[in-house]
Amino acid sequence: MQPLLSITGLQTEFVTHAGVVRAVDGVDLVLHKGETLGVVGESGCGKSVTSLSIIGLLPKGQSRIASGDIRFEGKSLPSLSDAEMRKIRGNRLAMIFQEPMTSLNPVFKIGHQISEAVRFHLKLGKKAAWEHSIEMLRKVGIPRPEQIADEYPHQLSGGMRQRVMIAMAMACNPQLLIADESTTALDVTIQAQILDLMRDLQKTEGTAILMITHDLGVVAEMCDRVVVMYAGQVVEETDVKTLFRDPKHPYTKGLMASLPQLAGDQTRLQSIPGNVPNPLEMPPGCRFAPRCSFRIDACDRVKPELLEVEAGHKCRCLLYEEVEA
């Protein structure tokens, strides 16, 4: 079956005063219909840039997709014109942002904001679009949708606003929903409700979700497969169970070790020493080598490849390359 979204060799660059920064360097992703793919990594690893590259919202003039292809429903997104891309955005491909408090326009009513995309994409009239908006609000579990549609964003709580954002994103029944840290700004109980809601909607609408997060808890709860990113590259890719049971890459292992444990006598949280490398001064060999506790001499010289170490389990690490060789 043809995948819904396939990214091959994506390289996204930012032009800065200091030079060209390659924020995403050769990312490959595949997402099938109805599937949830998690993209995990710490700040600055290129998760968000990957999602902005997909939806075509990279800051103009400062960034570009240097090479690689993003195919969505058989179309190559980077080669589409602005007008063609606008038809896909919000319609077949939607995005939920991190900050529900500022992602709604403060001067427009909720119903108006949902209607806007509906009128544009589904070609509905004003009244029909308004009714569709109310229907969407009901679907995302907002009580009294008729009244809420008539209210302004400041009258709603954070959780409610995130529900509204989801209603907006889902209004045109997209095939792919990109959720960029969409639950990070919410407190945990609301977070759980929102994740439940997304899962329910996914079940009923068959939407695929690209879940961008740094929260492994969210990944464990939501995702079918996981991609771990580090310094603009995919370092590990596997299904969610294998990732938690048997992480291969030292970075993933470090992430797992830094999770708080309920059992055992651990008194302090583990952390990975050091920082993400400066994109302008990438290590010549493995990008994780300077922080890696399993480092071998070759790591400083040889760039590891993303190799399949087990069936359906890919890892970018020399430790496993040698095993293969």
Binding site: R86, I88, N91, M95, T102, S103, V107, F120, Q155, M165
Partner: protein
Amino acid sequence: MNSATQSSPTTVGSAKIIKPRSTFRLLLQNRLAALGLFFIVMWTVAALVAPLVAPYAPNAPDTSIKLQGPSAEHWFGTDNFGRDIFSRVLYGAQISIWTGLIAVGISFCIGVPLGGIAAYYGGVTGNVIMRVMDTLLAFPSLVLAMAIAASIGPGLISAMIAVGIVGIPEFARLMFGQTVSLREKEFVEACRATGVKDSIILFRHIFPNALAPLLVRATLGMGFAILTAASLSFLGLGVKPPISEWGAMISEGREYIISGEWWLVTFPGLAIATSILGFNLLGDGLRDVLDPRLRSSR
């Protein structure tokens, strides 16, 4: 500003421009703004009812009664042609308010889109627009207005256009600043993510969020426009005689200050002063009332 936070402690952070009634109430609590509003209402009413209440025709000369001081028949006295100054001041309100509205309208309608486009699209276009604006801003405004009015040819319309053009950079700069900060807001990005066109984002989503400071600026601009238009008329580049315009009246009456006929310049002068004071007070008041919303909306 204080009154805003005191009277509605629970709604700090709410979008107040949506509720014109509460904005209006807050405005009236500010005494100076209320005074400003009073002056504006007074002159607007004067302009509207001038044909009904003016005791004499504004442009009918009667040399038999020229240069009479204020009296029961002629409240503000008569000028050198025997025209009733009270009637002329009332009719002058029409011209001044129209001049203000049209001039500010021109500045607003050209300046705001220019500033918005320059900020939203940026690049070479934006740079060119804003540098032209800076150049316009570098001229003293009255000198620039004189140059424009003189090049179009003297007259009421050219005075309005000249004053309007002089006001463009102020609006462009203000909108530019607003757009630059609003452009990076997440709701704008969310809008783009739903496939909304750039031009629609700029005018339907960014513009309403920038409206509050623009309104304040427009109110202050009214005072400036009336003053500049009056200055142009005083200099002979505005309305032509015998039309009654405050600046022109002062210009015509200035020779009589020394000979003791003070009423020729005093009453139109007071009219200019109060109307401008009114718009400035209202503008300041509006800024105070609208500001808390602006600060908390980010």
